[in-house]
């Protein structure tokens, strides 16, 4: 039936050097879940819309380090933003996804999603990655690569075009993001500080900013 995060359930015994939280955002139907599923497994299938949030875990080696990426996949429909906003907290990386064949999904990134990041992200140094998905549908493309690059510059984010269907650039997307995160000292420190300390820190953030984001 709908997507589940099965791949995550047996990863508990594996060891890793660093652990990062990544968030996928963007309009409904741009392919956030598909990117994630393609990255995690080899299957390319039509997925159900995400209701609320879902997540998957991927262990991979980047730059000689064993990484554990916890990737939170959020519902794109506007009505769900009230539920998804709390997942920005503590994310070291945010992937902003649009569909190169639907212009409104591109303009919504600067009009809506970038503002959501500013509002809810607790990490000042958080690394952003702009992703134009569905490049396999080249004949239906309406957003050019140059436009994507320009927006990425404005947002101060990384940029890639990819296709969840053909797997083109999917792994690169998450790997480049992880590499960039590892270049930021504050994020690197957070990633290695797993366990109790991290939890306490998050709790403090929770207390101090409790009413802030909702008021």
């Amino acid at each position: 039936m709908a997507s589940t995060g099965l791949s995550s359930s047996n990863s508990s015994s594996s060891s890793y050097d660093l652990s990062f939280k990544i968030l996928l955002i963007g309009d409904s139907g741009v392919g956030k879940s598909s990117l994630l599923v393609t990255f995690i497994s080899n299957s390319v299938e039509d997925l159900s819309p995400t209701i609320g949030v879902d997540f998957k875990i991927k262990l991979l080696t980047v730059g000689g380090k064993k990484l554990k990426l916890t990737i939170w996949d959020t519902a794109g429909q506007e009505r769900f933003r009230t539920l998804t906003s709390s997942y920005y907290r503590g994310a070291q990386g945010i992937v902003l996804v649009y569909d190169v064949t639907r212009r409104e999904t591109f303009t919504d990134l600067s009009d809506i999603w970038a503002k959501e990041v500013e509002l809810y992200s607790t990490n000042q140094d958080c690394v952003k990655m702009l992703v134009g998905n569905k490049v396999d549908k080249e004949s239906e493309r309406v957003v050019s690569k140059e436009e994507g690059m320009t927006l990425a510059e404005e947002l101060g984010s990384l940029f890639l075009e990819c296709s969840a269907r053909t797997r083109e650039n999917v792994e690169q997307c998450f790997e480049e993001l992880a590499l960039k995160i590892m270049e930021v000292p504050s994020l690197l420190e957070e990633g290695s500080a797993v366990g109790k300390r991290n939890i306490l820190k998050q709790k403090q953030v929770h207390h101090t900013s409790g009413g802030g984001c909702c008021s």
Binding site: S12, S48, Q77
Partner: protein
């Protein structure tokens, strides 16, 4: 009747034959629920026949005796529903217990009006999700086929009927589930009965802007976990896990989204008769079932993954006992 039509459509298709389970979902090789699809023994078959006779007597022709019976013996009805409504009567009984049959009779022609003459601001959003709703079911998998058309009509009609709610992802799974057991118009009125609260508390707050009822239910569920499963509640607090991470889809779709179908319909039997408290009870039962595994994990994401994925899988062989816990 609907089921029959589904089967016919499928046979007409010249495409490669697909194997489906008894509910019409395309079988995947790794599907662990194989045991559920085995043919029934003679004694099971007889028992099922007896049950159907009992149910037919209880509801009368076309549901004519239902109201009388339910007034006289509500406890018998409750007990029988908990044992599961016979699949061939499910569609009719769902309409009777939800109050949707009355709405349908009181509003002749309204559905047709909504489908044919009105336009909805949500049309594009709905279209985009149609092929993503139960894509592995034979009724819905054919592009622009009767299943997808019915689903679109019901959702569009509702988005016009209640423009404040409009269309919210998740409603498609509820409508899809209903369409497997009844006609478009019946499914529409059942959706209305649920969201507007014909018998139980209205569900529309699950879908209105801000999702106020989802927030309320998650808050209440959090407290229920702490009260009924204190050890797990404490563990969840330590690991910073809250129900929005695993339970929002339980409430928004009443387990019709990512739950094994044979369990979902049993939950719906009871949910339609007893109301939303059943969603809480099933949710708590799931956590209780996996309690010992859940408290072992010491990482936020691992605990969450257990609580909403592993739970479902581990339940597969034990579906019979689920109803005992709620």
């Amino acid at each position: 009747m609907e089921k029959k039509r589904v089967a016919d459509d499928h046979e007409v298709e010249p495409a490669v034959p697909v194997r489906v389970d008894r509910f019409g979902f395309v079988k995947q090789e790794q599907n662990s629920a194989e045991g559920l699809c085995r043919s029934r023994s003679a004694s099971e078959y007889e028992r099922e026949e007896r049950r159907i006779r009992k149910w037919r007597k209880m509801i009368g022709v076309g549901g004519s005796d239902w109201k009388h019976y339910i007034r006289r013996k509500p406890h018998v009805v409750k007990r029988r529903i908990r044992k599961g409504i016979p699949d061939c009567l499910r569609g009719l009984v769902w309409q009777l217990i939800s109050g949707s049959r009355d709405l349908l009779l009181m509003n002749p022609g309204v559905y047709e009006q909504l489908v044919i003459y009105e336009t909805s601001a949500s049309e594009l959003d709905i279209i985009r999700d149609i092929s993503r709703t139960f894509p592995s079911h034979v009724f819905f998998r054919q592009r622009h086929g009767p299943g997808q058309r019915s689903l679109y009509n019901v959702l569009k009609a509702y988005s016009v009927f209640d423009r404040d709610v409009g269309y919210v992802q998740g409603m498609g799974f509820i409508a899809g589930l209903l369409l497997l057991y009844m006609s478009e118009e019946d499914a529409f009125w059942l959706l209305v009965a649920l969201l507007k609260g014909a018998v139980h508390a209205p569900m529309e707050g699950l879908y209105l802007a801000g999702l106020p009822l989802v927030q309320q239910y998650l808050y209440q569920f959090d407290h229920l976990v702490k009260e009924h499963l204190p050890k797990l509640g404490e563990h969840f607090s330590q690991e910073m896990i809250n129900p929005s991470m695993y339970a929002s889809q339980w409430f928004i779709t009443v387990f019709s989204y990512s739950f094994p179908f044979h369990l979902a319909i049993r939950i719906w039997d009871v949910f339609l008769y007893e109301g939303v408290r059943i969603v809480f009870k099933v949710g708590l039962a799931l956590l209780k079932y996996c309690h010992d595994d859940l408290v072992l994990f010491h990482c936020q994401t691992e605990v969450v993954s257990v609580s909403y994925n592993f739970v479902v899988l581990s339940l597969e062989p034990a579906h019979g006992s689920l109803m005992h816990w709620i």
